[in-house]
Symmetry: C2
Subunit: 348 residues, 2 copies
């Protein structure tokens, strides 16, 4: 990497924003000055970073002077306004919102899957926007991509178990507060989510297409996976559910392969995959959980098994299955958001 | 129904046992004397029932004298020993454990699906055992059976979101206690489950087949559905997950039909189905949740939508889909256990 550069974090006080700081610090991401940008409300307060204290500045049109890399996680509307301003100022923007993901000229990158898409911006040669995919998409792709590379993927049926953090710090606080209220016999007061959250779960809170019945989260998983894989024909259906967990998503994934494989072959491929840790002890009943994935970089994969409801040939260890089931967990704030964005920046 | 009969509840102090009493009371199930049976530890204490107090007796080989109906929910090993004793004493046993479910001569009954299987025992003409299916199986079948009856079912891919109650009252208490501990900054102490439960989820705690990788809960869903439907060829794969919810299960169900159907046709069939309440408001984002299902008799069905990852023909309201997605919630203690058992008794 060339001489250190000035970087900016937009939405520094949010759940993902704070995670950006942790990840930049832990990975010793090389930079000169760091600007922490947020709304006027937070300006003037300070955040701890690399043993010091950095004062938060108000996000304005002039915030990006001299900035080479801007990490955005302040929602789609902020990204739409300030992303292009940062690019005009000469920055590469890595944007965590959905604002630009599906635009043709915007690379949508999971470093383990399609790092080459970031190439035009390497060395900060060209300002522009690189989009960070949806958290559920990233976590699924890290687990399924190695299997797809080896055996091809015909179809995916996904059910998610999504944590509060995907809806931000206020949602995490809502889960804690409501749960304490319910345990104390007080009524739970839904604020962030419409449904009560304590000891409950509910269909993802994003809006639904009245015709297809899919919610935005489900549509993102389909559209983003197809774009990242450059495979508009891959068949995907998803049911996205919010569960009372704080910060790691889980996903139950049923795969139909193009070429059948033995369980050993699928395991072998996953064991060599970047960003994947296998946790799959049948005798001990030890598998991925959100708590095990929390604060960790890797996506945890377990319950790897041939799917008895799809065609198979042979038996025992030689049995070749057309389908597989997986259960995966990944930290929504890290690999699902901040870590993936910083890994994109590391490609530059 | 003939003259009132003496009944017994085995495992009266457990989570399902107490629910038996609620359901018998609410449905005004006609009976003469009721015997509440439990271990020596609970004997002598009393439970409220129909405005009075009933003293719990210790379960012994002589507990079933004069009893015509015995509702069992005290675990498989108690059922194996005392079920046949109750039958020898002349009772019809409705057993909530998995001990007898897969035996050829034992009817496995969901009243909405296969009430005719209970016929040999009608009018208490013949003592014997009728098995109550697994909670996840019952809840799934109530929702899917009407669709199967109309269009046929080729394959099911199911992911469950299972409540603490499936593992009994101690598991529900563990969820509450651990959650209070975590909120207070104390370490969570796993006792009933190996994995921490507060703000966490984990693969179902039943043991796994080392070869297939399926856990017992998943295998039950497959085997019991095939037996109840008398259809050994129906293809089913399930991933069973325990979530931090107290007493209602949720399931994400992906269906492949034998005959394609429009969404309107599937909705119409479900709207006429016994035991089903549709809750499916896309504009308002109102769908089934465990809390809405808790304490309720019906299985709630929502997120009814054609599956874009399977073949379809036509478009708009006329589109015919080979596959559908559903999200269902049902009270594990009621329809998943006590209510279904009492409904079986009502068939008699």
């Amino acid at each position: 990497m060339a001489s250190p550069l000035d970087i900016a974090v937009v939405g520094a006080t949010g759940a993902v924003g704070r995670e950006f700081l942790d990840v930049l610090e832990q990975r010793r991401f090389p930079h000169a000055r760091i600007r922490l940008l947020a709304s006027a409300r937070s300006a003037g307060t300070a955040l701890l970073y690399r043993g010091g204290s950095v004062v938060i500045e108000e996000l304005t049109e002039r915030s990006f002077e001299g900035v080479k890399l801007a990490l955005f996680s302040a929602g789609g509307s902020i990204s739409k306004v300030y992303g292009p301003i940062a690019v005009d100022a000469g920055a590469v923007v890595v944007d965590n919102s959905s604002a630009f993901r599906m635009m043709d000229h915007v690379p949508l990158v999971v470093p383990e899957v399609n790092p080459e898409e970031a190439a035009p911006h390497r060395g900060y040669a060209k300002p522009g926007i690189i989009a960070n995919p949806n958290c559920s998409t990233i976590i699924m792709l890290v687990a399924v991509n190695p299997i797809r590379a080896a055996f091809g993927v015909e179809r995916l049926v996904i059910s998610t178990y999504q944590a509060a953090s995907g809806a931000g710090a206020a949602a995490m606080e809502e889960l804690r507060t409501q749960t304490a209220d319910v345990l104390a016999g007080r009524p739970a007061e839904p604020k962030v989510f419409k449904e009560p959250y304590a000891f409950n779960l509910f269909s993802h809170n994003s809006s639904l297409d009245p015709l297809t019945g899919r919610n935005q989260e489900e549509q993102k998983m389909i559209d983003e996976s197809r774009k990242i894989w450059r495979d508009p024909s891959v068949k995907i259906t998803a049911t996205c559910i919010r569960v009372p967990v704080l910060r790691a998503h889980a996903e139950s994934i049923n795969i139909t392969l193009k070429t059948p494989a033995t369980e050993g072959e699928v395991r072998e491929v996953l064991s060599r995959a970047p960003g994947v840790t296998i946790l799959d002890d049948r005798a001990g009943n030890v598998f991925p959980t959100p708590l095990k994935a929390s604060g960790r970089d890797d996506v945890f994969v377990g319950r790897i098994r041939g799917d008895e409801s799809q065609a198979s040939t042979g038996s025992g260890a030689q049995a070749k299955f057309h389908g597989f089931n997986l259960f995966v967990c990944g930290d929504q704030l890290r690999k699902g958001a901040a870590l993936n964005a910083v890994q994109i920046a590391e490609l530059l």
